[in-house]
Amino acid sequence: MTMQQNPAKATGIGASVKRVEDYRFLTGRGRYTDDMNKPGQLHAFIVRSPHAHATIVSIDTTEAEQAPGVHTVITGAEMKAAGIGSLPCGWLIKSKDGMAMKEPPHLPLAADKVRYVGDQVAVVVAETLNQAKDAAELIAIEYDELPATVATATAAGATGAPVHDEAPDNVCYDWEWGDKAKTDEAFAKAAHVAKLDLVNNRLIPNAMEPRAAIGEYDRGSEEYTLTTTSQNPQLIRLLLCGFTMGLPEHKVRVVAPDVGGGFGSKIYHYAEEVIVVFAARKLGRPVKWTAERTESFMSDAHGRDHVTHVELAMDDAGTFLGLRVNTTANMGAYLSTFSSCIPTILYATLLSGQYKTPAIYAEVKAVFTNTVPVDAYRGAGRPEACYLIERIVDVAARQTGIDKAELRRRNFITPEMMPYDTPVGLQYDSGDFARNLNDALEMIDYAGFPARKAEAASRGKLRGIGFASYIEACGIAPSNVAGALGARAGLYDSAEVRFHPTGSVSVMVGVHSHGQGHETTFAQIVAERLGVPMDKVEIVHGDSARTPFGMGTYGSRSLAVGGMAMMKAIDKVIAKSKKIAAHLLEASADDIEFADGTFRVAGTDKTIGIAEIAGAAYIPHNYPLDELEPGLDEQAFYDPKNFTFPNGTQICEVEIDPETGITKIIRFVAVDDFGRVINPMIVEGQVHGGLVQGIGQALLENCVYDEDSGQLLTGSFMDYTMPRADDVPSFEVKTNEVLCTTNALGVKGCGEAGTIGGAACVMNAVCDALDIAHMDMPASPERVWRTLRDKQAPMAAE
């Protein structure tokens, strides 16, 4: 048996196969929600609140309803009267005192109060979008303005009007994690304590494709179809049926076709999805809504927004003894689908980082404010954890005088300690953190840095070097553990492998691809495992009517969870095929071997190909019908045994122009352990994209609200700085494969890694260049310039 015998090998695991999606995406043949126009389709325009906080005194829609082309005007009162439910939150967090988090209702259309600029107030449905917009101007809404709560740090207990009556002090929950007494003990015996106050700035995701949704209702069959820009159509169907619309699932189909980026912001069940389905039922016509970019800025869930105090206790030698964290996290005006678990379960459980810190204690207070809801954004809780850990480690190095690389190395969890139980509830299965660091140091030439710094100084530039040794928890699971932590959904996934009679294969998966390239990487695995050419394998996703129930794509889970479900289904196909082969080759099933698409009676030249087996299964003339069902179509669900733990070290070097304050990234090196890599090219692309978003947070992106009025000041690309190609360097990346021990593929996930460490890495380099302990993100030119000016002449700041 040689590799040449199997054409699937050239496209198998580990090959940089070009994406099968590329043709349609690069030539404009993708099918996005807004590309679709249904027969008889109407257009919805949503009237949004111009105020951050106000009571709705009255809404008069009379004139708008009579405007040309208008079919209906819907208000919150109508939807409430129709029994439309609240948009649910999928994770229950309990406060220190055991009380459940405050969960005020989040109606798809505001009924009595508006709570952020952009909150949905009314919907006009008309023949054309322009007619809907014209009519919207005729709706008379009287508001009674209330004081707005905006700033994260001061929201708790703010006087004035609380965001929700259910939470008079604006606190959603006050949660703790870890061992307080043990941590206090650690601090009591510390030789050094490093302290830091930091802000994790608020971000606006800005997927390339704005959100869109089309609702359809067939009065004859009583069937509903929702086409929507979602990362998880099955979950949207579940929430639409079980919570908001109250429909039977067998009558509802949710389709998420080609989706142009999500980064978390398309996980959630949004008001607009309910609105178009409600309107379609009311009118008996398809109803489409597509966000304009301005709407995306003010209605897509935002990310991050923490204010944190952190302390790290060390002994004389710089060994970490304890970590203490106090964070206030902004939830925005309502609880978005997964908002509550992001600054808790996905944050505090990662506070061990790559270090053997023995005692950790975290307190997290979540607050409501009159701003857009905040939820998971690429990395989701883990970049926040990594940022504070890697920043405080650098502060500790500065304080103790220990080299930054050495301090990290001294405190790393070693491969010999795996599996390692952290004090914050996770069990790391594998990883070689020191190797990643050492490789990155070599790639960047750490020893040569002082010379490069001196050379930069001769040109009047401040050069700095920064590290981020990150770890993340991906493939969140097992379901029962997540359930015990408050999850209100399972976290397994599913796949169906359907061999067709003439040898091609359709694989239906519960995860969703919106830029990740699953149609390529999943097909590579199927082709290699089944020994069929890759072009005979199709990956089907994004349609609840075609795929088994799965939880969708987020948290770098698709391969580690969905891919494993697919592996299980493949194994079932092979097991059944062996029995068919045994019958056809007149041998015992125990004697059948399978490799490269061929079944063989061990030790003989009697063979049969898998395509022939499929033919026999569907035309069962010579077939063991007494023992086996015809057909070759297997389904599997997979619930992981543990999270996976991608990890790595990023190092970057920056140069700052002290005259302007502009920071330029000169080099950026990333060494990542993603476990087994299926397609190195796609993985590298994922790393690049993640790093750009990390750099964006560190240097460019910042969501700003006016603290008095609650108006969004960065509501367009004129003011919100998205990173562009000329803002980032050419990345140097490498992967160190340490196979995950808790799944058969050995995979860990790569979708978020760049973002987990990126911001910390850049800010560590900026602080190094400026020779300061800390500055908050983004390190915009003016902030850097001001920091330098204040540092040089602290008295002059008067």
Partner: protein, 265 residues
């Protein structure tokens, strides 16, 4: 966007006739500001009068010691025009760094200066190089053209047809670009012209302005060091979430120095 009539006359005279007959009509050149404004329903003109079909408004030509740029010439054409690059490289440099590639291929010099955005690049060139604005009815000196934020000396129905740039002895443009929009947070054109040294600043204030103290200093010694210690007061400068007034004041001096380096380099 509200609905409107759309016209695209062939001559400047026809444009004038339309504007005279319909006071709510609006002229559109590249549409870089007007179209987004319309899309957001922030303007409701009865008609758009598109200048795209008037051939005489487009193109660059040398005329003795001046370069004449038609009002409808896109920034990219100025940036890559051989004559401009040869004779006023600072102007080509400025055009090459306006906005992004899409803006440079759609946006026009006439549209830019008629709009008089306080953060646009071209006003620094027009004032710094002491250009003359040619309109449908007259000629206007650069120093008289920009009157306030988004305000010019243009009268109702008057349109820019060309801008005439005298070739300077030397000139340089330095810009601190807005990280998001790529407009000028501060842009400074420094030029040694037949009539003396001129320093024109865009982005920093409500409208482009000259800095007499810098002009005098550079007239004495055309070097960045001559500007040491000269700064504009922060009072009255623009201030926003990206740059405060005192940061802008700092950048005015810094960009002026870098413009001198560019002019002498």
């Amino acid at each position: 966007m509200y609905s409107f009539e759309y016209q695209h006359p062939k001559t400047v005279a026809d444009v004038a006739a339309v504007l005279a007959s319909d006071p709510d009509a609006k002229v559109v050149a590249g549409g870089m500001t007007l179209i987004p404004t319309l899309k957001q329903r922030l303007a409701m003109p009865s008609a758009l009068v598109d200048l795209r079909d008037i051939a005489e408004l487009r193109g660059v030509r040398a005329d003795g010691d001046t370069i004449v740029i038609g009002a409808m010439t896109p920034h990219a054409d100025v940036a890559y025009d051989a004559t401009v690059r040869d004779r006023i490289p600072a102007l080509a440099h400025l055009a090459r760094h306006i906005g992004d590639a899409q803006v440079r291929n759609r946006g026009t010099i006439g549209g830019s200066i008629a709009n008089a955005d306080p953060a646009a690049d071209y006003p620094a060139a027009v004032v710094g190089l002491n250009a003359t604005i040619v309109t449908s009815t007259r000629e206007i000196a650069a120093d008289d053209f920009f009157t306030a934020m988004f305000e010019t000396a243009l009268e109702e129905g008057e349109i820019v047809t060309a801008v005439r740039f005298p070739v300077p002895k030397r000139a340089g443009y330095a810009k601190f670009k807005h990280p998001a929009s790529r407009y000028a947070v501060v842009g400074v054109m420094v030029a040694e012209t037949a009539g003396g040294v001129r320093v024109a600043v865009t982005g920093a204030g409500p409208s482009v302005f000259r800095v007499a103290e810098m002009e005098q200093a550079l007239a004495g010694s055309f070097s960045p060091d001559a500007l040491a210690g000269i700064s504009v007061p922060a009072d009255g400068l623009n201030s926003d979430i990206h740059a405060s007034a005192d940061y802008r004041a700092h950048l005015v001096t810094l960009m002026a120095k870098r413009a001198v380096v560019a002019a002498t380099g």
